[in-house]
Symmetry: C2
Subunit: 506 residues, 2 copies
């Protein structure tokens, strides 16, 4: 069927076109079907339907299709019904509980990366893997396909170190300490990190206060070879792009299928060329991993998948029911981490967790002998080598190496959340702390967040401040305070919790 | 956040808006999240993101949102992050294998009808029910919610009869005989039918050759009360609209979850007020129901669900491995059915199936005593009462009651598909017959289709025609012939099937 081109200047993130229902009927295509557009290039696109927006005889081309075809207004294209991509049948196999072959997984991941699958198909795939999971073989192939369909860093030296935290614990700024400690001991650690989606600040959000974090794969490699480490945003690269596209569909469903979680983590490590990796698995109520048993299972699966991929993986189950350190929110967390690097002053939970994980990496990489890693890591902090390395990292990423923790600006609006009674802190809700920081503006407003004065088990007096909320905007501060009033992040022993109509501000 | 309205004149079938990523970040919303737009009305919409199409400070409103808000260009609206609808959590429960409460199902179906769920969420729901199915309670509640969220026919007399075919067998034009037979015997049968999606012609596509088929629920009721029956397109009504919206997502996934199949059929029957229903369950290779065991299970489930809904359901497992009659495609099928009504001449498979199912309805409705239904149905055909009733039905729907089978126009282009050898027809592929009819233009080109001269088990001579393909357009005829050459719909005993490079035309 010959149809006249009508450009639609909207990016939809996929190859999509719009046809009038009359033409669609004539062509025998229905909602969710695809058409092939033949021109000097041939392209398959998903069809949307309209009764009035596009006239019969016309075809609306969304931005991505226009770009691919380089068509001008009023030119004609040849349009025909296209079969579903093979991947649609492959997804159906997963739904039917059948095992996939390696080349089927390759085909599927290629179609994911090339945006050939609709949201409906991706959602079906993720839902099916959430319910049925994939086998070890399938998960390995999925991971390899994710690595192979993106950019890769290839270093000529070894070992390449890396570290990953499963997430779910607030204030986990440990990468800002671990990366310089490891790099200061002569090991290479090209750390790509994420921005917060549901959190109050990812490592990339934090590092961005100190230096730019958006670099190409090539630049990441060069910088790592020069100073030993970087702390950059993985999303700016084309590393394991399939994973990003799957996450976009997982997020609205609030799911993280086990096999996808494994593949996602390991693909990103594999693509940067990591050979020895430490996994931080925060465990406990309010984290992604509810108990030690689930943590051990995940650790085993990560180690196993690492082995299959030729990667040496060590895992640490860490305490995740309370924030790491006493700060949640980009600027507050950077201040806390920099202060440790500069002065060794800071919360024990932050220093201890950082030196233990850094120590594991030092031992795995051969920079420390067995059993000596933690001490070497602590020493590297104390003798200022970690700070010096951090300055090099900040400088090579284009930041100001002379920055100190005192230079970091916090939001100018603050509110104190006070204890309603004398007693011990008996409940501490991670998710509410994060939510309060988000209401205050984190992670977008870098100066917003929550400073924690009292953690679980600590003694507090009536009217003593337990949290300070920082915000860059007054309205946001008010929203955060309102939220804390409704959903107190901390409970003090003896506090009345049943009288819901008038909950005391905590 | 105050944002300026920028209308986007595209219908997307949902409440959707587009925001610049900068504003979205500020608001803390992410792909797949929702925003609440406060104005003189408040509305929740799913957010798409753009970096360039909509400037910061603006919000793009797709057609449906504009219509709801009745906003003009450059006016401001208040936009805030909105939580996910409760239905998103309900869908998650299904994914986690948890049972739903009745009010959760009500909430979910309401959100489906009101277009509050994204395609991703709907796909997750359908995939989860495909893998895990719903319980009997849940399926009943789902069906009731589907009935309650749409229009309903309420008749003052009883019984109200209905008939449904599960589909999957080509040429199943039996409703054109059953409805007039039943109505001619004084029973009411308000038959809503579908158009073909993957088939060569649904009952609505067929009936449309004889009379208009698009009516409101009110008109369907009035016409049925006047002449005893109608044959209309269900899609023109607002009967069980949730079902149509789910089918739009099931189709691209090529799935029909068992509980959805049950709910879909029974909601449509329940909404038209049906009290006594016959289900035609075509069984065998090439149908939706592969074997008798699966057919019996479906029958039991339909009867059981009917009981829960207060509906009397009888089921007939019918032979589905060959087409019903010898025609596939709208005009060909109408000719075949009308000819039976007018002359009693026609294929035994069509007449016998129609009188058996019509007979079951006559017995259920009390118009025939037990065991006498089939004979009364056949008598109604023979004595011309069914034809007279069909003319009344055609007339009340606005068609020409004087039409005879000789008046129905067929496509002017034809091709004969001939036997390559003497022998018996040993294979007959339903799906290929349907596909050939579709390539020829069916169901959109009403005169296109396939006339079958030889069915399974029949003796054929070399070069004798086994199929005639009709088409309204020459190119389409050629496509259909090409398809039959590549995928022969019929195999004759002794035929060479291995030599793929040069398959003989059959």
């Amino acid at each position: 069927m010959q149809l006249k081109v009508q450009p639609i200047d909207i990016k939809v993130g996929k190859y999509k076109v719009v046809m009038n229902t009359i033409d669609a009927k004539e062509l025998g295509v229905y909602e969710g079907d695809r058409v092939r557009i033949r021109d000097h290039v041939t392209l398959t696109a998903i069809v949307d339907f309209t009764e009035d927006m596009i006239s019969p005889g016309m075809i609306g081309l969304y931005h991505e299709v226009q770009e691919q075809l380089q068509r001008e207004w009023t030119e004609m294209v040849e349009v025909e019904a296209a079969e579903k991509p093979k991947s649609a049948r492959i997804i159906r196999k997963v739904m039917d509980g059948m095992k996939l072959e390696r080349d089927e997984i390759n085909e599927l991941v290629r179609d994911i990366v090339e945006e050939n699958l609709s949201d409906i198909e991706l959602a079906a795939f993720l839902t099916a893997t959430y319910i049925k999971d994939l086998s070890e073989d399938e998960t390995e192939w999925l991971t390899r396909a994710m690595i192979d369909t993106g950019e890769r860093l290839e270093f000529s030296t070894s070992p390449i170190m890396d570290k990953h935290s499963i997430g779910g614990v607030p204030g986990n700024k440990i990468s800002l300490l671990i990366v310089p400690i490891v790099a200061a001991n002569g090991l290479l650690i090209p750390k790509t990190s994420s921005r917060a989606i549901t959190g109050a600040g990812g490592t990339a959000d934090l590092m961005e206060i100190l230096a730019p974090v958006e670099f190409s794969a090539r630049q990441i490699k060069d910088m790592t070879e020069k100073v030993g480490g970087v702390i950059v945003w993985g999303g700016a690269t084309n590393i394991a792009p399939a994973d990003d596209k799957l996450i976009k569909v997982e997020y609205p469903l609030s799911i993280d299928p086990h096999c996808q979680l494994l593949a996602s983590i390991m693909a990103k490590k594999g693509a940067v060329g990591a050979q020895k990796v430490v996994m931080d698995i925060p465990t406990g109520s309010g984290t992604k991993i509810p108990d030690v048993k689930a943590g051990r299972k995940l650790a085993r699966d990560l180690i196993n998948l690492g082995e299959r991929l030729g990667m040496d993986v060590d895992c640490a189950l860490t305490y995740g029911s309370s924030p790491v350190g006493r700060t949640v929110g980009p600027a507050l967390e950077v201040i806390e981490a920099l202060k440790v690097l500069e002065t060794m002053e800071g919360p024990n939970s932050l220093i201890e967790k950082s030196v233990i994980l850094a120590g594991m990496l030092l031992e795995m990489g051969g920079a420390a002998s067995r059993g000596q890693g933690r001490d070497l890591a602590l020493e590297t902090l104390k003798n200022g080598k970690a700070l010096a390395k951090m300055k090099e990292i900040i400088e090579i990423q284009g930041g100001n190496p002379d920055v100190t923790y005192k230079d970091i600006a916090l939001g100018e609006f603050t509110a104190e959340i006070k204890a309603p009674a004398n007693g011990y802190v008996i409940e501490f809700y991670n998710k509410r702390i994060v939510q309060a920081a988000r209401f205050a503006g984190a992670p977008n407003d870098k100066g917003s967040g929550v400073l924690i004065h009292k953690k679980r088990g600590e003694l507090v007096e009536k009217d003593q401040s337990v949290l300070t909320i920082y915000a860059e905007k007054k309205e946001k501060l008010e929203e955060a305070v309102k939220y804390c009033r409704e959903y107190p992040p901390i409970f003090v022993e003896g506090m009345l919790i049943e009288k819901v109509a008038d909950v005391t501000e905590v």
